[in-house]
Symmetry: D2
Subunit: 309 residues, 4 copies
């Protein structure tokens, strides 16, 4: 691939590990990077919304980029969404200079009409440079910006440097079908679609045309296996695996406390040392932790990855 | 005009008068209709958002339409926005049968993308019938649907029965300019633009290309005079008149309590007997009433219409 | 129970069956009522948001109430949410006169602060009458009104006629725990909590303190079995049953097209004759229908209720 | 005053001057600081939303604080709102170390219930330190967080370091009255209320209990004169002055393009060298500039401050 962004498989949306006192836990940054890599991920996305990026100072963001890029042997994409193009450009250039494979840009929440959205990404691409490969993040549930398939197609057509869609519209299956239909009709060049939303619809998204997942579910190894099963045409086996994990996927996909669940699972699995979040953040109650552990134990009956250490 | 909707001047957005017990005050419906007419309005719009239409039962809506249409000697437009097209169609047909000049349709609040908005109005027009003249209401501040100039142009192009835009985007001056520029470029057929938002920018909207106002400010006679001054090219005089009323226009243009201010002014001017609203509704405090009365007294120094009776 | 609202079990949120032409399919109203009853439901809730209530004319709403109440041998709750208290009162009185067990009221979307929410329900209760038993619907995802546990407690304390909470906050498990903790501390009188959100968290809600479910999932017979398993303390069996259905529960819980999925399932199960919705509404694509059918076939391997007829 | 925040008068919300290339124009930072001071302002607020703070890098923010604090002979308040408390604390400490009189904190947009809002400010105060004087910004129109008078009272009661309310709720006159009534009833300690929203209701806010204004209207000298007239009990003169400026105040108070109007006026008045904004930003059309200039010329007939240089 020209720009070095792998087009298929699973990109892990990386959590940012903190110590109890809120400082960055760089040892866990390393172990988490290894964990994603060992899980068969084709790439890692850092500094996304779930990575608590808005709570980091710019120098911290740069330190994390440096650490992950220097350790990973797979492409790293860096979230650079920012209120101003100056800050976005500055972070994007730092990231590319340090060896990132590309950046990810989400629309700013105030955008509403098609032309506003199209103009925003034109401005962003002009700002970061037309040579920087980037991923378009489509996440209406949190960002409150709804991007139609036609607008996504327009953005992809306008910007050759847009290589991938992080698709997390909800509901969103029809949008994937529409985009692939445009492509099949010769109206849209090839581009990659990786799905987010915690994997909640990953039992159908590959058949709709998705190339894989970009999400932070605590079992990236299960995600890579799932995508592989679909690639092999093993539909029923894929659903069996998906259904086994769905209760936890669903539990993790709760706005606000989802990140707490995810960090709890990653800690239980040994990928990070501590499940702390920077404030303000929502923590799990003891009951919620017990519920997650119960779900893990149920998964563990059929999938040893979920067994307690 | 083919459909009987006047294309210029002032359409009063009619308040719905209630008695203290919440029943409709039909005597005040009559006196208010006369008041609007005697104020030089070219039309009356009833059952809009400010007319408390959502708080009326369908049979009440029909009774009000009948009363106003039978009394008015100017065109009457009826707000028919509804969650379902069945209810919208039923009300639109009743209104046209009773002699309304047309209907007004606002987008349903869930709409977000350009294609959703365009599809919604296509469905609405199919439902009410392509022969029913209608006004497109563009009111993002309350409805939370943002319609770009390009989308308005598309809707007008798609539907010959769309004769008028009730423009109350905010800020909205550039949108008027864009629409008229499309028309001047031959890309859009003629249509009428009447401005809402309580008249807050009526000192510039006519020069941008608006044909007048469609709003419920308590001094429709001032609005008609203002639009007439602009038509005569008397810019400074128009601004003098506008500036005199702006403190009250601004006070009335407060979300939530604006209707209470408006009904208070209409009652003080003798146009309605009672300023009651149907519940739930926000009433004016004694301090607020005193503030409105003070603003009226200031206007009255130069405009006898504001003098207390 | 004094007011005749059962406090435990499953209330089915009833779909409103339409014929292809959009008219109400009263034969299916009957068969659907029977279906819910035969599924072991302890009650039926009609004219809710998922019942397309806003798309009905008042006389249609009354006809449906009459039909369901006269046929059902279990309590019927009627959704009476309306923009104005006059319309709400009129519908509530009709419902109670026809034999409904109570009404359900959701907050109007404009409410934001605690005191606004508390004042709104005080106004509603004053309007419909303090003797009318009612259910408080807490549904932030769609209504955009967030009600804290403390505010729910206050409303319950203020209004003895509030007998039940339809809980569909998301995430919402902690809210149930908080409310029950207030009760256990003697600070809140007993009241019923039935959970909505399509049943997405019904594998944990009973243990948190919920009395059952009030939702419209296409397998109310599974919901009643699930609630019963929890009542018997059969935790693992309950989770086995829940996990079997979760892929479909999740698929049905998509904003916008969820109702289409639900009607498709109810039609496949023979509970209604036609899956038509009133316009504007979102329909299922052929691919989506095939996906639902595939999920049904997977459930059917272990639960004969999902087998195709 | 213990903390050095003046409690009355006018705080100018400072624009951040940029050169055409988007870099900070420090010479204009100086001239603007002088301009505010010479206008009789009792203080200056920097790095607020209108100051394009979110578009600055942290080191730029610190450079601006340093420049303004070292030049101003009046108290400087620094906006420190941030997605995470770590960034907020870091900026607040820098600001206080450099000599700021206090900081200003707005609620994060996700907050909805009273208890969430109260908890957020408790967390913020704990983070920045209980000894740092701060201003509570109440700005629902942009931040989408509605704070009731009771919640403001609670926050003020909880935190002795909260010295001032920047009041820009809309409509908001009754909220001022409520807060002052609580104080008069002995239920709330003294605190300062300065009003924002561009000054749109500054003709009534002082009589409701406000101590002045904190806003960025291009004529801070008019704002200080207005507040002074009210302090002298010269009601009619105050209204005469307010009404003269209201057409421009209103024009400047347009979401999105308001900042462009403000910078245009400040440039015309010689307070800054260039009206550039950082991207993405909305610029004025030639027509809009002509409209602003026309409004200035109308004001200039009675107020020489508005005369063109």
């Amino acid at each position: 691939m020209t720009f070095g962004i792998a087009s298929k498989g699973v990109y892990a949306i990386a959590a940012t590990p903190f110590l109890k006192d809120g400082t960055i836990d760089f040892n866990s940054v390393d172990s988490l990077t290894d964990f994603y890599q060992d899980s068969g991920c084709t790439g890692i996305t850092i500094l996304g919304i779930m990575g608590e990026a808005p709570k980091l100072e710019p120098e911290e963001s740069r330190a994390i980029i440096k650490r992950v890029v220097s350790r990973a042997r797979i492409p790293v994409i860096v979230g650079v969404s920012a209120p101003g193009f100056a800050g976005m450009t500055s972070l994007a250039r730092s990231a590319m200079d340090m060896g990132a494979a590309g950046v990810m840009i989400a629309p700013t929440p105030a955008l509403r009409t098609d032309e506003q959205i199209i103009a925003y990404f034109a401005g962003a691409v002009e700002a970061i440079g037309v040579d920087v490969p980037w991923v378009l993040q489509d996440y209406p549930l949190t960002l409150n910006v709804v991007i139609s398939a036609a607008v996504i197609a327009k953005i992809i057509a306008n910007h050759p440097s847009c290589l991938m869609l992080k698709h997390e519209d909800w509901p969103g299956l029809e949008k994937i079908s529409k985009l692939r239909a445009l492509q099949n009709a010769g109206e849209l060049r090839p581009f990659s679609i990786l799905c987010g939303n915690g994997g909640m619809f990953l039992d159908f998204e590959p058949e709709r045309g998705a190339d894989g997942a970009m999400t932070g579910y605590g079992f990236p190894d299960m995600l890579t296996e799932l995508v592989s099963l679909f690639a092999q045409g093993k539909r029923d086996e894929a659903h069996d695996l998906f259904d086994l994990h769905l209760p936890l996927i669903r539990y993790e996909q709760q706005l606000g406390i989802g990140l707490a669940v995810r960090k709890h699972v990653l800690m239980r699995r040994g990928a990070i040392a501590c499940d702390a979040q920077r404030k303000p953040g929502q923590m799990l109650s003891a009951t919620a932790k017990a519920e997650v552990d119960y779900l893990l134990s149920r998964i563990a009956r059929h999938d040893s990855r979920a067994a307690f250490r």
